[in-house]
Symmetry: C2
Subunit: 445 residues, 2 copies
Amino acid sequence: MPSAARHPAEAGGQASVLGNLSPMALLVAKFGGSSVADADRIKRVAERVVESRRDGNDVVVVVSAMGDTTDELLDLAEQVSPLPPARELDMLLTAGERISMALLAMAITTLGAEARSFTGSQAGVITDSAHGKARIIDVTPGRIRAALDEGAIAIVAGFQGVSQDTKDITTLGRGGSDTTAVALAAALNADACEIYTDVDGVFSADPRIVPDARHIDRISYEEMLEMAACGAKVLMLRCVEYARRYTVPVHVRSSFSSKPGTWVTEIPEAQLVEQAIIRGVAHDLSEAKVTVVGCPDKPGVAAAVFRAVADADVNLDMIVQVGSVAGSGRTDISFTAPKADGRTALTALAKVQAEIGFERTLYDDHIGKLSLIGAGMKSHPGVSARFFGSLADAGINVEIISTSEIRISVVVRDTDLPSAVRAVHGAFELGDPDGGGVVYAGTGR
Amino acid sequence: MPSAARHPAEAGGQASVLGNLSPMALLVAKFGGSSVADADRIKRVAERVVESRRDGNDVVVVVSAMGDTTDELLDLAEQVSPLPPARELDMLLTAGERISMALLAMAITTLGAEARSFTGSQAGVITDSAHGKARIIDVTPGRIRAALDEGAIAIVAGFQGVSQDTKDITTLGRGGSDTTAVALAAALNADACEIYTDVDGVFSADPRIVPDARHIDRISYEEMLEMAACGAKVLMLRCVEYARRYTVPVHVRSSFSSKPGTWVTEIPEAQLVEQAIIRGVAHDLSEAKVTVVGCPDKPGVAAAVFRAVADADVNLDMIVQVGSVAGSGRTDISFTAPKADGRTALTALAKVQAEIGFERTLYDDHIGKLSLIGAGMKSHPGVSARFFGSLADAGINVEIISTSEIRISVVVRDTDLPSAVRAVHGAFELGDPDGGGVVYAGTGR
């Protein structure tokens, strides 16, 4: 359990804004591509950062590439090569953060504060050699600490590192800048990692679908992990995993306002059980359902199907095996996987069709996944009754079900998804503006 | 004196083309911004480089940033900061070469050859800490050599290095990519450094002014130094100085044709004296003339004037002191300096006006400088008679004169410059298409 200084959200109840945590806090603040999309926005970020520095904080800023820079660079790469080598693609893409971080350092200097920018390599972000999706092995932020000790604001390129083995430049893949920020916060033992984005934080559902979705002030790492895994785009799974492992308090907030965002922190087990909180409803339209029809109903067949798909580097999500039709000796196996990997999964299955002996594959990309998340549900069995009751009342057919201790997920028709989200959100009264997180106790409220 | 292998131009008389030097030569080839301005040009460069590799050469390619990239980055910098810190400006601008080198490596890989790109830092280009105009202290190209040993083409970012003291990214300033190429060629003991540009090499005069200007096949380091210092833009002074110091044979040639260019090499003294070659006429419109009027005619005054200007970091070029008007005790001092430094020079002089006691300054930016260059002239006194005779015959008034052992320079009205260049070029018959360099012997031909 970290000290009180590392959990500022716990001290006052009200989530703090950057710069008002406590005198001389050490903050790592990450600004995404839309926050540094042009010169004017970079200057606004500079003002915000300098204000925090003048309040007495030590500030490390992690930046993504400006707006569309990465797409423009990818487009150039495509023009010279249909399949660019991964090492060179990383070399190319890392130019994007180099541009934004240098411009931010300039803008800060112009405001009279001292700033120094550092590449991932200079910041000590050491990774493995998996170009395009490198994993952070170690962070040795000696130059960052030196810059802070000299009173400067340190600006660090997100999304990039240097390979421990080859010394080549690597990129961390999707959500990489968030992960850079959390990893630096952990290595520097920062008081908080602030993730600036284009929304005010995490909500009880997507406000575009549920107009009365409620802002979540505080959420546990475990709940945020489930939210991220189930389609909430505000934080990447990897970044939350990293934050949980090193107990880094994360503050997700808007770069366009000074409102408090959502704190992702450790929440004591006792507190969670007692309050039985349901956090929110996440949804995901990015997956498709693959059905392997007519598999021989004998041991090892399901394993062979899943191994073939996994070997092709496709992440399986929800899985269901329909019991065999009496006497046929055959069974169907369904799973969901990212639509982007649909072709890969089908190709991998086709290769093992003869060997496994299934009849055919079906591919359905008109599905939607809905997940209810809350650490409270594990000790309150009434939750699932209410969950499925609300879907039934709304006339929604459930195709696949999967659960964890703090989550229930279902697959429905994609056209049913919005009304399903609203039904569940309403059934648990998540939109109630008076609740500090809806308190759900047992079978009724 | 280098071995024959290091002086390919000497072996055959005819300058070789890239890839036809000798089997398994080690070549460093530099392509400027216009050669890599878009995806299509990058692919053309890739083809050229791969062809050379397939001919059996080891190839290191140094690239500049694509076309207008540097200007676009400077424009962004200006938008966020009126006076960007030099360290951050270097961080920003070096993104340009990172983009072009990664794209070139991709394009080469697509053609089936192996390529690896390296930043200045990765290539071992160690500099001092003078951001924006760093000087190369050392080159430790271990990773380049390893890439070559593994059969890869090494692509290196020009114009950039890493500071020995601070480990910060530096840029080498104007002509930096040429200098990177020559420095790498020296460190790798390459057989030649090929500088690809948008012209076919060095000419006896600017072909835009002198239509029958002759292509120069071979020129000594010393002559090329004078040419570069006197306005020939094809190679930067710094790069030639570096090449001379390490005896790197430089081949300046067009990236848009396969014609032989101009070899800049060591040429034995005996050969030069014997042939008495006049190489060409250079001109320069980038300077202005400053006149300090009414200086006290006593020892130390000229030194005080020049010190004031030099302390402001202005490079003085040609200097003349007009003898004092009889009895006045006053004299005028004139010098030329880059127009870009005009304001700086005048401001520096204004500060010391009272102390030195001169009357006023005059500023004239309508001047042009013409220089005749050739290692042969030092032992042939008839050269200057013919030089000044040709200007007099053309009715051109000479304002300042300066000479070295292998150069005569004059300042004239800028409007007189084209006819002055043509007059001198014609007087020495430099346009003669039969000459292999015009042989000028004594007082006649």
